[in-house]
Amino acid sequence: MKDLYLVYKNLTRKKLRLFLTCFAIFIAFLIFGAITALQGALNSGVEMSADNRLITVNKINFTQPLPFSYVNKVKSVEGVKDVSYANWFGGFYQEAANQVVTMAVDPDTYFTVYDELVIPEEQLVQWQSNRRGVLVGERIAKSFNWKVGDTIPMSSNIFTNKDGTQTWQLQIDGIFGAQDQKTDTGYIVFHYKYFMETQTWGGDNVGWLILTTTDSALNEQVSDAIDINFANSAAETETSSEAAFNKAFIEQIGNIGLIIFGVVFMAFFTILIVVGNTMVLAIRERTNEIAVLKTLGFSSIRIFKMILIESCLLSFIGGLLGLGAAFVIVKGASEAMARFLPNLVLDQGIVLQALGYMLLLGLVTGIVPAIRALRLNIVSGFKGA
């Protein structure tokens, strides 16, 4: 503890250098915090996927429909537990800027295959019996201040209502949440039948099938059986686990994981060089002082520790400031983009990871000058000066 003052004075002896080095570390941890939070948000759909849930889409493209008859055919495949289906609506609320993820689903089976969603029984029953009813997720309800009983005009940028408009008046019968806070509840679902009867495109199609297997070990077998069943048909299928489907959906942008790893790696590598070089120079400038301290009776190991503490302090000052800034930015972005990136959060895991990197950065950048100081011979130290 008595040496901390000495460490502090050494650290702050060149204020501009301290500022610039801290700023470099600040930027690295700002990038790390923000980007890792973004990666977490993008991956949350993958992480929250159920093990035994599969998605069947049209093999050409997931925007292409599948015949409705596939629902019963898939149900009969061995190993399939429950089947549901959904159709993309492409909705917005009141104005185009208020995009709302909206799906037309089967009210009898949707909450069976998504059993992690939570809704009061009476609300579910009410919705199932009300063909114009809609269930809204907690997050989206909060975002638009919707309440049970409200009628909301939902417009589609794809479909046209038979009344000539592109808007459907839907009644909120319930609000669903989830067992896990990270599960996305930023969307709404309404009746598939009502949608098909009121839209002008017609057709006896569904957008995709959602099914659960009796055992996740059977996933591959069930996937193959379904896809083989529809091979060489007009609408061939591609069945994959929900996690793989979500991952593939995200990776339409590119290999997010690789991009993020690349950015973070480059940021840290650059910082490692900058801070490492700064520490080596800073300690080299102090060769004479280290020799003096040793002459006065400071042991080599004590000086070694002081230098490591100094480099770790430097890393933690810049790192914590950068992480703090990332927290503020992520919090702001999370509020602004709540509907698109519901799980954008700089969580405890990222903080712990960042603290680990700060410690590692401090130790790696300090170890070379600390060893040099440890090995410094007093006589050579004075001659060097």
């Binding site: 003052y5 002459t295 009776g297 042991s299």
Partner: protein
Amino acid sequence: MSEEVLFDLAEVSKKFVKGKEQISIFDGLNMQIKKGDFVAIMGPSGSGKTTLLNLLGGVDQPTSGQVSFDQKRIDKLSEGQLAQWRANNIGFIFQFYNLMPMLNAYRNVELPLLLTNLSGKERALRVANALKLVGLEDRAKHMPSEMSGGQQQRVAIARAVVSDPKLLLCDEPTGDLDRKTADEILETLQLLNKEFGKTIVMVTHDPSAAKYANHTLHLDKGEFVTEAK
């Protein structure tokens, strides 16, 4: 003056290897320093003055021979043991003061006390006394860069005596100072020797400085040639 021997160098050799050549600084040097003595060591450049001071201060080890302090051998101590021994027994005063530029006078003087178990209060008292001894009690908050060479050297003296060591080793303590300031510093060293009983070994090129010592040893090519005064 007590006749008890503080330092005893017996058959000390010191050799360096420079490239393929082996350079011998001392070869069988014998020397004794008595407790309470004030010894000046003079000699031309390369005669081994600073090497001798380094051996006495335990910052360098002899190639062979024995170095004993208070009848205990220090040439066999490990680096860590030597560091502790220096902290307990030796005060160093350098030609260029060697103060820590980022610490004020108070903190510079306090440095050796950080190696002790003294409380903050006890350290403060000792530092105040040391600064008073060298007449710089009103400069405690000043940084080295805000002080003259003479003042810096006085801070260095305060740092050397603050832990109450038995021996002060001075390497050209007045080499960077004007005559008047040098005399003030030497008077302070003399005071420490006479009033506080500190044993002092001072390396110097300056015959005027050597006059403040009780003895002057002349080194040439690693051997004592004559003893003046």
